[in-house]
Symmetry: C2
């Protein structure tokens, strides 16, 4: 599982930085979290294929987290998308999107499934490859974080060995589950001749826009990577609190409380040109911190 | 009067080209016509000062002409704009913008005056420097073109000469109107020692998205510069017609019928990487044709 940053800035675009949008990729499938203005162009620029995107999640209704959504939805239709698209977002968004489509006399070429976000924490979707749940964070308006969990696919087949030992295809699923193969003559082919360890299940917690709080730690406990906003540096901690935002030290405290392995920080205020101080501050509390840079992908 | 192109592409962003937005500058004041996604970033990039922008006009409710508007309106407020802003747009847009502000719990720092566009042709606004009127064009949904007319400011004062001849300030307005100055002793200081010819009144006609028609020629007759869309080249003339768009030859016919001095073409389909053929086609009918290139400014 990895996450590609399409926008790392807060409200105002500045210094070439874009508003929030990021793509979580699981077994080749893309999940878009938030969709600030310009996301469709950022996806093109950074080579994120729309054909692999079937799920979009919107954390809250501040414009820097969704103003790119109408454009993306329209453009997919202009390109003739056929596959269903699932949108998980605050409830009022769908009537507005539908209104915009109606004004434009547009009928989408694909089916857009709208799933309004619940009030609290809830499992939203589960597929063969991943599941995504939401949890409440504390912002000026209703806002959700998202937890993306990839599933293990069991052990990974070694195709050449499976062919060499003439393992029948119907047995592959059992190999993935770790079973040995036993020939009709009783010979045992040990599983570890035929498979290697598969990828671990991973947990990525996107904590959206939030003030510093331990109220959602329960939902992100043990995440491999936590993304936490750091709008202001710590000398502006009072401003951060007043505006329901956080500082790097606070994000690092969250990562520490949640026993995360890695912390990714973003959503930087337009007042800061330099981002290195954000990492330095966070590392005083949580050393394994990375700054979310647009176009970069991070292993979860 | 000059026009700066912020976006010259049709619906889908492509080849680094953005959706429709352009700024008409009259005596240092900016008028924004259409506001596709990314317009606020394009304005920053091309040095168009927001403080000089007080009027926005939206031609119709296809997303590539207004999806950048919520972001621009919000960002102006985040930067603490105080001056009133006037928006002329299709009627349903204002409740939607208000809804977005309400969801975000945002109160703008400035007053946004919303003026719904009328059905037909009408004078929308008149200031000391310019007037703007709208006229109906023929598109798949209701769509307006805009005519921007700058006013003459009379003759232009030569400050050094006015000082040398000790012309009192209260007389400057009369100088602009072409009057000579007569001293108490009866000496006549001829006007052309004190002034030069001022800028002419100019007419810029933005014809929005439209199929080829002579139905609006009456409103743009004698324009100095006409902007006309050319979404497709002429070998796609049937497709253009079916989609309520035009070709370069058709745009050139319009410019010719309207006795325009100059034609500016834009709104290119994403299927075309090269834009030179658009100009070549138009020039066969109307030689003084220019291709609208993003970031370029054109004298009207």
């Amino acid at each position: 599982m990895r996450v590609t940053i399409l926008g790392n800035n807060s409200a105002l675009p500045a210094f070439g930085r874009n508003p929030t949008a990021q793509v979580v990729s699981v077994y080749g499938e893309h999940i878009l979290i938030d969709c600030g203005e310009g996301t469709q162009v950022q996806m093109q620029k950074h080579g994120v294929k729309w054909s692999k995107l079937n799920y979009i999640f919107i954390s809250h209704l501040h414009g820097d987290h969704y103003f790119g959504l109408p454009g993306l939805i329209n453009s997919m239709s202009l390109l003739g998308r056929q596959a269903d698209l699932h949108l998980y977002a605050p409830a009022p968004l769908m009537p507005m999107l539908q209104q915009m489509l109606d004004w434009a006399d547009t009928v989408l070429t694909y089916k857009l499934h709208f799933h309004p976000l619940p009030d609290g924490a809830e499992l939203l979707v589960e597929t063969d490859n991943f599941k995504v749940s939401c949890f409440p964070v504390e912002h000026r308006i209703t806002c959700h974080g998202f937890l993306v969990e990839s599933k293990t696919r069991g052990r990974k087949l070694l195709p050449a060995q499976c062919r060499d030992y003439e393992i029948p295809r119907y047995y592959y699923d059992k190999l993935k589950q770790g079973e040995d193969y036993i020939r009709k003559d009783g010979t045992v082919i040990p599983n570890d001749w035929l498979t290697t360890e598969g990828p671990d299940a991973k947990k990525y917690a996107f904590c959206a826009d939030t003030l510093f709080t331990d109220s959602f730690i329960q939902y992100i406990q043990g995440a491999d990577t936590i993304y936490h906003e750091t709008t202001y540096l710590h000398n502006d901690v009072e401003k951060a609190k007043a505006r329901y935002h956080s500082t790097p030290v606070q994000a690092a405290e969250v990562a520490k409380m949640a026993n995360a392995k890695q912390l990714l920080i973003g959503h930087f205020s337009s007042k800061y040109r330099e981002l290195a101080p954000f990492r330095e501050e966070a590392m005083t509390v949580f050393p394994n911190t990375l700054v979310a840079i647009e176009g970069n992908s991070y292993d979860v």
